[in-house]
C-alpha cells in the first residue's frame, strides 16, 4: 500500500465499501435466523431431497447419486446433488448454501471426513431438516445425543469387510503366504476398520500368512498403481496376496501386477465389487486373480439413508423412539467369491436402483435385501 492522494482516495473508498458490504452481510443474515429445531414433521410437498457425495468420478459415489435419483423419482420429490469435490470445506459450504435457501431438506451425506459430521448435523438441525450420515463420523458423536434431526448414522461394517477379504485370500493361498495391503486414506475410519478386520482374521485363522507391508494409497488408483510397482520391486514374487481397501485401488494394483507378469501367481481381494471388478471376475481375469470381494452398492446406501431421513421428516418414524441399532446402524455386506458372483448380477442391471427403491419402500429401511440391518448401536469394535 502506498499513500499517494489518488490511491488514498481509492483506499478510503475501498475501506468504506468494505465496511458497507460487511454490514450488508450482517443485515441480510439476521433475517435468516427464523428457522429452528423441533419444527415437527414436514409436509411432503415442501421436502427437498439432498444427496452429498465426495466426488462425481468414483463409481461408488456415482451409484450414490443413482440411488438418490431413484428414490426421488419414486417419491416424486425434487433432488439436489452436492459434489464435495473431495473437500470438507466445499461439502460443508454447499450444504449450508442449500439450507440457507430455507428449503426443508431430507439429506444423505457421504462425509468427506469423520470430523465434518458435527458441523453438518448442527447446520441441518438449525435449519429444521433431517439427515442421515453415511460411512464417517466421530465415534462418540451419536445420533441419540443429537436429537431427532440427526436421524441415523449408517454404514456397512468395515471389520466384516476386512474379515471377508481375509478369508478369501487366506483360503485361496491355502493358509500360507505373504500379503501386501493397500489401505485407503489412513485417517479414514472406513479404511481403518477394514484393515483391523483383515488383520484380525489373518491373525486368528491364518497364522501362516504374513503381512509384508501396508502402503496407504489414499483411495487413489494411480497411487496404488505406483505403490504396487515399488512393492513388486521390493518383494518380487514373494507376494502371494494383495488386499486393497476399495476396488478403485485394486484396479490400480492389478495393473501393476499384470505389467510385472505376476498376475497369475497372486490373489486379490477388496471391498465394493465395482461393476468393473464384476466384469474382470466374470472374464476370469488373470487366472481368477480376484478371489474375494464384498458386495454393497452405493445406490443402496443413499436410498436407505435418504429414506430413513424421509420417514423421520414426515413423522412416519420417531427417531427418539428407535432402538440404538436403528440410529447407528450397520448394514449387511455380502462376501462374494467367483462362485457366488452370479447372484449379484441382478443388482447391476439397468433399473436395479429403482427396483431396490421399490423394495425399500415396501420393507422399510432396515429389512431390504441384500442390505439388511445386521447390527449397530455403537462404534464398530472387533468381536
Amino acid at each position: 500500500m502506498s499513500l499517494t492522494p489518488q490511491r488514498s482516495r481509492a483506499g478510503r473508498f475501498a475501506a468504506l465499501a468494505a465496511v458497507a458490504s460487511l454490514a450488508l452481510v450482517g443485515c441480510t443474515t439476521t433475517a435468516g435466523e427464523s428457522t429452528g429445531e423441533d419444527a415437527g414433521p414436514i409436509a411432503k410437498e415442501d421436502i427437498v431431497l439432498v444427496a452429498s457425495v465426495i466426488n462425481t468420478t468414483n463409481p461408488y459415489f456415482i451409484a450414490n447419486i443413482e440411488g438418490a435419483e431413484a428414490l426421488a423419482e419414486e417419491l416424486d420429490l425434487p433432488l439436489e446433488i452436492v459434489d464435495s469435490e473431495g473437500s470438507s470445506q466445499t461439502e460443508i459450504s454447499k450444504i449450508q448454501a442449500i439450507l440457507a435457501q430455507g428449503k426443508k431438506v431430507v439429506m444423505f451425506v457421504n462425509t468427506v471426513a469423520s470430523s465434518d459430521t458435527p458441523t453438518i448435523v448442527d447446520a441441518v438441525k438449525r435449519a429444521g431438516g433431517y439427515v442421515s450420515i453415511w460411512w464417517n463420523k466421530p465415534d462418540e458423536f451419536e445420533p441419540w445425543d443429537q436429537g431427532d434431526n440427526f436421524v441415523a448414522f449408517q454404514k456397512h461394517p468395515g471389520i466384516e469387510s476386512g474379515r471377508c477379504n481375509a478369508q478369501a485370500i487366506g483360503d485361496a493361498l491355502g493358509g500360507k503366504g505373504n500379503v501386501v495391503m493397500f489401505p485407503g486414506v489412513a485417517d479414514s475410519t472406513t479404511s481403518q476398520t477394514r484393515v483391523v478386520g483383515f488383520k484380525a482374521e489373518m491373525e486368528e485363522n491364518y497364522p501362516d500368512i504374513k503381512i509384508l507391508e501396508e502402503q496407504p494409497s489414499n483411495w487413489d488408483p494411480v497411487l496404488a498403481n505406483q505403490n504396487a510397482r515399488d512393492l513388486i520391486a521390493k518383494y518380487g514374487d514373494e507376494i502371494d496376496g494383495v488386499w486393497s481397501a476399495d476396488d478403485g485401488m485394486q484396479l490400480g494394483a492389478l495393473q501393476a501386477f499384470e505389467d510385472a507378469g505376476l498376475l497369475e501367481q497372486v490373489k486379490f481381494a477388496s471391498d465394493g465389487l465395482y461393476p468393473d471388478t464384476v466384469k474382470l471376475m466374470q472374464e476370469g481375469y488373470g487366472d481368477d486373480a480376484i478371489v474375494g470381494e464384498t458386495f454393497h452398492r452405493g445406490y443402496m446406501a443413499s436410498a436407505i439413508g435418504l429414506y430413513t431421513a424421509y420417514l423421520a421428516a414426515t413423522g412416519e418414524i420417531d427417531p427418539s423412539e428407535l432402538p440404538k441399532e436403528k440410529r447407528t446402524s450397520f448394514f449387511d455386506i455380502k462376501c462374494v467369491t467367483p462362485d457366488t458372483l452370479d447372484e449379484y448380477a441382478q443388482y447391476d442391471e439397468p433399473g436395479a436402483p429403482a427396483a431396490f427403491v421399490k423394495q425399500l419402500i415396501e420393507n422399510g429401511p432396515w429389512d431390504t435385501e441384500p442390505a439388511t440391518l445386521v447390527g449397530g448401536g455403537g462404534p464398530e469394535v472387533l468381536d
Partner: protein, 524 residues
C-alpha cells in the same frame, strides 16, 4: 581544442564525398504526444563516413527522434530517406534491414545466450532460417557473427556466453549487432550510439573511440552523448536539440564546449573554480579507512574523508574503487582492515550501522539500486530518514508530503509533484530525489557518491554538482567516484588514485596540483 591529424584526414574524405547520396536524410520529421510536440520539424542529412554528434538535454526530443529512426515510433509528419529511398519503418526489423542499427544506452544483450546469438538475433541465421528445417546452424551462426565482429576489429569468441564478458566487450557485441544486418546486405550501415559512454570508464572510452573511427570506414555514425568534450573529439559535426527542435548544426572544429552548453541549456555554465584549502592538522576524519581489503577487488587501502571536503577516488574499471566505496558503506564485506566512522571502529561495516552513523550512498545503478520507480517520490525521499514524517513506528503522510515539497523546492526538482511515481521523473530529477533521501538525514556526516552524474545531461549534472558542493560546505564529508578525471579536478579537495586494487597516489588539492596526465599515469 586542436583537432587531431586523423580527424583532419577524415574530414577531407567527407568533403570529397559530398556529392554522394546522403546515407540518411530527414525532412521535417515531427512527432506529437498528446499536446506535446516531442519532435518538431527536424531536418538534417548524414553523408557516408560521417560521425554526427547529437546532443540535448533530457527531454529535448533526442530519444523520440532516435526511436523514429530505429522503427519504434512512426513519425506523424515528414520523410525519412535512407540512401535516397524514402522509408516507412513498421518496426525495428525494417530499420535494421535499411541499415540502421542502434546501440542502446542500457545494454540490451541476452546475457544467457552466446555472443553469436546476440549478434545474429535479427538475421536469417539467428531466426533459424539457415537450414531447411528451421533449425539453428551453429557453425554458420558463429561464422557470420565472427565476420561481423571482425569488421569492427574485435576477436571475441562468438561461442562465449555474454554473461562471461566484460562491459566493453559487451559494447563491442552491441556494435557488431548494429552493423550485422547491413553488413550482410552490403549497404553501408548507420550506427546510432545512444550514450554508449555514460557507463564506460575513461580507458574503455578510448577503446570505443577507436572502434568508432573504424566504423567510419564502413558506414556512418550518430553519436549521442552528454560528455561534450568527447562529442567534440569524436564527431565531425554536432547537432543540438532543444524543446523538440534542431537548434544548431555545427562542425566540431567551429565550436567549443561552452557554446554547446549554452545552446543546450540556454544559459552560461556557472562552474566556479573551487577555493581549495589543505586539511587542517588535527581535523578528525568522518570516515577513516585503514588497511581495508576485499578478496579479488582491492587490498590494503588506507585513506581519510574529512568533514567539508570531497575525496574523489579515481581508477579504471579494474581498480576496485566501486567495490571500495560499497565496502565502506557496508554493502560488501571486507576481508581485512578497519573502517572507522565517526570514531566508531568496525571490521565488518553494515549498511544499517553506516546509515545510523549518518552515511549516505548514492549508487551508480540508480534504477536498480537507488530508487523505487513504482513508489511515489515523497515515499522514496523519506524511506530511509523519515525525520519528522514518522512518530515511532507510525507514518504521517501529510508531514511526509510537506517534507518532500520542501526538498523539491530546495533542489529544484521538477515537476513539483512529490506524489508522482518516481519512475515518471526524468533521470536528473530522480537523482536529486535519491540525493534528498540522504540529505533528509538529521545528521548526515558523509555521502558516498558512486558515479553521481552518470546519464545526466549537463544541466542536470551541474545542479547535482552544486548540491554536492553545498552539502560539503555544510560540513559533510563526500567520497566521490567521478566519471571523468575532469570531474574530479573540478569538484574534489582530495584525490585518491587506485590501480589494480591498491592506492597508487593521493593528492591534497590544497597544495598539490596534479595534471590530468599525472593522474592518468597513476591509474594505468
Amino acid at each position: 581544442m586542436t583537432a587531431g591529424a586523423s580527424i583532419d584526414t577524415t574530414e577531407n574524405e567527407v568533403t570529397a564525398m559530398t556529392d554522394q547520396t546522403p546515407v540518411l536524410r530527414l525532412a521535417s520529421i515531427s512527432k506529437t504526444f498528446g499536446t506535446n510536440k516531442a519532435v518538431d520539424s527536424v531536418s538534417f542529412e548524414i553523408r557516408p563516413g560521417e560521425v554526427i554528434g547529437l546532443i540535448g538535454e533530457n527531454g529535448a526530443g533526442k530519444s523520440t527522434l532516435l526511436k523514429m529512426l530505429s522503427g519504434n515510433y512512426r513519425p506523424d509528419q515528414g520523410v525519412i530517406e535512407v540512401n535516397g529511398k524514402p522509408q516507412q519503418f513498421r518496426g525495428p526489423a525494417d530499420a535494421l534491414r535499411a541499415g540502421i542499427g542502434v546501440v542502446h544506452q542500457e545494454q540490451s544483450l541476452f546475457t544467457n545466450l552466446t555472443v553469436a546469438e546476440n549478434i545474429e538475433v535479427n538475421t536469417p541465421a539467428g531466426r533459424g532460417g539457415v537450414s531447411r528445417l528451421g533449425l539453428y546452424n551453429w557453425r554458420r551462426l558463429n561464422a557470420d557473427a565472427a565476420r561481423a565482429l571482425d569488421l569492427i576489429g574485435s576477436h571475441l569468441n562468438p561461442n562465449t556466453h555474454v554473461s562471461d564478458l566484460s562491459f566493453i566487450d559487451r559494447q563491442m557485441v552491441e556494435i557488431a549487432r548494429a552493423i550485422r544486418v547491413s553488413a550482410s546486405s552490403h549497404t553501408p550501415p548507420l550506427v546510432i550510439l545512444d550514450e554508449p559512454t555514460s557507463i564506460l570508464e575513461r580507458t574503455e572510452t578510448a577503446i570505443l573511440e577507436r572502434e568508432i573511427s573504424k566504423l567510419r570506414d564502413i558506414g556512418s555514425v550518430i553519436f549521442v552523448s552528454h560528455r561534450l568534450d568527447e562529442v567534440l573529439r569524436i564527431c565531425d559535426r554536432v547537432l543540438v536539440m532543444s524543446n523538440g527542435r534542431l537548434i544548431a548544426d555545427r562542425p566540431s572544429r567551429e565550436t567549443n564546449e561552452a557554446e554547446l552548453f549554452r545552446l543546450m541549456v540556454g544559459r552560461e555554465t556557472h562552474a566556479a573554480v573551487r577555493n581549495r584549502t589543505s586539511v587542517q592538522p588535527g581535523t578528525v576524519p568522518v570516515i577513516a579507512v585503514k588497511n581495508l581489503s576485499r578478496q579479488g577487488e582491492f587490498s590494503d587501502v588506507t585513506f581519510d574523508a574529512f568533514p567539508g571536503r570531497v575525496v574523489a577516488v579515481l581508477g579504471t574499471s579494474g581498480s576496485g574503487r566501486e567495490s571500495l566505496v560499497r565496502t565502506i558503506f557496508g554493502a560488501e564485506a571486507p576481508s581485512a582492515g578497519i573502517v572507522t566512522i565517526a570514531g566508531d571502529e568496525s571490521h565488518r561495516p553494515s549498511i544499517g550501522h553506516s546509515v545510523k552513523k549518518g552515511i549516505g550512498y548514492l549508487p551508480a545503478e540508480r534504477k536498480t539500486e537507488g530508487m523505487f520507480g513504482e513508489m511515489p517520490a515523497d515515499e522514496n525521499l523519506t524511506l530511509t530518514h523519515p525525520a519528522g514524517a514518522a512518530v515511532g513506528p507510525f507514518e504521517l503522510p501529510r508531514r511526509r508530503r510537506a517534507i518532500a515539497t520542501e526538498w523539491f523546492e530546495r533542489l529544484d526538482i521538477r515537476p513539483r509533484t512529490p506524489e508522482r511515481m518516481l519512475g515518471d521523473f526524468s533521470g536528473g530529477n530522480q537523482q536529486k530525489v535519491v540525493l534528498a533521501k540522504w540529505l533528509n538525514s538529521p545528521e548526515l556526516s558523509a555521502l558516498l557518491l558512486d558515479h553521481p552524474l552518470r546519464g545526466l545531461d549537463p544541466g542536470a549534472a551541474e545542479t547535482v554538482n552544486e548540491q554536492v558542493r553545498a552539502i560539503c560546505d555544510a560540513g559533510t564529508a563526500v567520497v566521490l567516484i567521478p566519471d571523468t578525471i575532469e570531474e574530479a579536478l573540478e569538484i574534489a579537495d582530495d584525490i585518491v588514485v587506485m590501480r589494480d586494487g591498491r592506492i597508487s597516489g593521493t593528492y591534497d588539492l590544497g597544495h598539490d596540483d596534479p595534471t590530468t596526465l599525472d593522474l592518468l599515469e597513476r591509474m594505468l
